[in-house]
Amino acid sequence: MTETSNAESSNVKTSSIRRSSSSQRGSRRKKAKKNQIPYGVALFIGLVIIGIFLNLKSEKLALFWVTGISFGFILQRSRFCFTASMRDPYLTGGTSLTRAVLIAFAITTIGFTAIKYGAHVQGLPVPGMSYVVPISFATIIGAILFGIGMVIAGGCASGTLMRVGEGFWMQVLSLVFFVIGSLWGAHDFGWWKYNFISKGKAIFLPDVFGWGGALIIQLALIASLYVFAMKYEESKNQ
């Protein structure tokens, strides 16, 4: 990570690799870069104004606006890529993104358990229970289709959106078909639910193992995947 950013920051003319004279091709297309700071300031002011406007309409909209922008910014700066986290172990043998995703899973596990347990203790309905659905063949088929699609498209949902925001035009195409696919999926979801999904049994881990047990089991599973990822990377580098 740091190595990459070092190389980026020390970009011009410090190359330790001797390039042949013909290689000045690269420098020839180097033109004076436009200073983007004024655009950035204008954009920031625009974002704040829209945020204030949304807040007048509804506080929830303003919250979505702020979290959405923060999420996109973090994704862009960190180059956090769910597609790469699943693909790179096979392609390059690197598992740094895979492990980053596992850490994110561990943090969300703790956070969601806290939220759900909090509601449970107070006798309130546990939030997010509509997402506890049975595992079925539809899950497996969907996962395989999504996996193929995201590798071809060069990004998952968040990655595609982030890249479109960066101005990578090819992925506008991905975005169009991503929207078409999502609509199609939503249209047919009832059929899948009736024929496949509803035939399974929904399992909510805290019902089976208790709240503490479920938390420990899930974290232990994530930790073992993390160790497996590390060992895998070591063995690939031999």
Binding site: E3, V12, S22, R29, K34, R79, T83, L91, S96, G154
Partner: protein, 75 residues
């Protein structure tokens, strides 16, 4: 010492990485591969892969949102 330029403008990840991997196998020792990319994620995973392989790597931003990754086949 030869220099090979691979134009990967407009290619989404992981295409530049796969092309780089194949090209690095082809070229001779001490040759240099210049990979031209405009996909920000390729800027992360290609240097990561190449450093792991033990090659010398440099990244140059040649324009806004366009980079050249220079990889030296030093082994």
């Amino acid at each position: 010492m030869n220099e090979h330029v691979l134009d990967c403008f407009g290619e989404a990840c992981p295409v530049p990485l796969v092309k780089a991997q194949n090209k690095m196998k082809e070229i001779e020792l001490d040759d240099i591969l210049v990979l031209q990319i405009d996909h920000s994620c390729a800027m992360k995973n290609i240097p990561e892969w190449a450093r792991k392989e033990g090659y010398n790597v440099e990244v140059e931003e040649i324009d806004d949102g366009e980079w050249e990754i220079i990889i030296e086949k030093n082994k």
